[in-house]
């Protein structure tokens, strides 16, 4: 009990459960998709590139999850957007307009 409290209070992250969770997360993504490590890394890299074309994102927070519900598997891509890139020049100079008018989209964040 006190060890648990101590670990929680002082942020000691030595819980073996956390290790189990992250290992499972890794191995299940491989099992469910049938992609190899290299393919997964490649997919991730390309996804980041595509999103970065339009947004400035926090690459550290970029995360791909395979979430299975009763009879469907959903690909969840979580990409924290730091700032919208609308108005600033994009690599291919593609004018990007989202669902809001240009004036609002270009506001400083």
């Amino acid at each position: 009990m006190f060890n648990t409290l101590k670990r929680k209070l002082f942020g000691d992250n030595s819980e073996s459960k956390a290790v189990a969770k992250s290992r499972l997360h890794f191995v299940l993504v491989q099992d469910r998709t049938g992609l190899t490590n290299e393919e997964m890394a490649g997919f991730r890299e390309e996804m980041v590139k595509v999103i970065e074309k339009y947004f400035v994102i926090d690459k550290e927070g970029f995360d791909i999850k395979y979430h299975r519900l009763a009879d469907t598997t959903t690909l969840l891509i979580n990409s924290p957007v730091i700032v919208r890139r609308v108005g600033s020049p994009t690599p291919n100079s593609i004018p990007v307009t989202m669902d809001e008018p240009e004036g609002a989209a270009a506001s400083n964040i």
Binding site: T4, R7, K17, K21, L24
Partner: protein
């Protein structure tokens, strides 16, 4: 898609076939089959437990019926005996019967069509037919799933067992068989220390409905030693858990204790924003 309900609720005269499987060996499939079968029988449900682990039969030993076997699953499939000649009534209950596996054949001696034929011989006689699947995902597993209306996937809160359970849930889903999960051998002291995945963790990872949670319990070994399902021991926590699971199988809305509210400690830490 929802074969479970159409099997049991739609036609009352036909029994519901549930396959008990796991992928990984040694997680408690046979114990679950025997204990859940006994619990259903105690509720007055006529229940047949089928040992589909051809060549490595064990359900007979767990039920203490090893010295009463004359015919087996393969004999019924090959029409060597009448279906009624192969099933053995349990010592403890008039509602619980065993269809043993053959010990001398290989797993591929019968195919899925033959398993369906065997199950059809018993569907009108029983409310529930529980099929104990062998470990693995090969022919033995495919045979055990043939004719199943739904599945119970047994896992323990360990990386290897959960990984295999995930694979099996995927395979069942591709066959259109809905799976529910039993988490076996959980140790809540270890969960509290952060050294074991919690019920919620396992559910989040697998994304499958939880049917029940069985605590690690020495009485399971004692029961296996004696050849009597742990369900008959009213003091055993595992026995009580199987009784609750039988209630859920019969459609009673019995909550999973460690999923809804969690322990006082769980609720406290959640409130404090500590991830557990």
């Amino acid at each position: 898609m929802n074969t479970r309900n159409s099997g049991a609720g739609g036609k009352k005269d036909l029994g519901e076939v549930i396959v008990i499987t796991s992928g990984k060996g040694g997680v408690g499939k046979t114990t679950t089959t025997a204990s859940l079968g006994a619990a259903l029988a105690l509720r007055g449900q006529r229940t047949l437990v089928v040992d589909a682990d051809i060549g490595l039969r064990n359900l007979d030993v767990i039920l203490g019926l090893e010295n009463r076997i004359v015919f087996n699953l393969v004999d019924v499939a090959k029409k060597i005996c009448k279906p009624s000649q192969a099933i053995i009534k349990s010592k403890k209950s008039n509602n619980l019967f065993l269809l043993p596996a053959s010990q001398t054949d290989d797993k591929d001696v019968i195919d899925e069509a033959e398993v369906r034929y065997v199950l059809d011989q018993f569907r009108r006689e029983f409310h529930y037919i529980l099929v104990d699947s062998p470990a693995g995902i090969e022919q033995g597993f495919r045979n055990a799933c043939a004719g199943a209306d739904s599945a119970i996937v047994v896992t323990t809160p360990e990386v290897s067992a959960i990984r295999d359970a995930d694979r099996v849930v995927g395979l069942l889903s591709s066959k259109g068989i809905e799976a529910r999960l039993i988490i076996n051998r959980i140790d809540f002291d270890m969960v509290r220390r952060g050294d074991m995945l919690s019920v919620r963790d396992v559910q989040d990872i697998l994304g499958v409905e939880i049917l029940g949670v069985i605590e690690r319990d020495e009485q399971i070994i004692v029961a296996a030693n004696c050849g009597e399902p742990v369900t008959y021991n009213p003091k055993s926590k595992a026995g009580q858990a199987f009784t609750r699971i039988a209630g859920r199988v019969c459609g009673e809305p019995i909550p999973i204790p460690n999923l809804a509210g969690g322990s006082l400690w769980d609720r406290l830490t959640r409130k404090l924003g500590v991830s557990t």
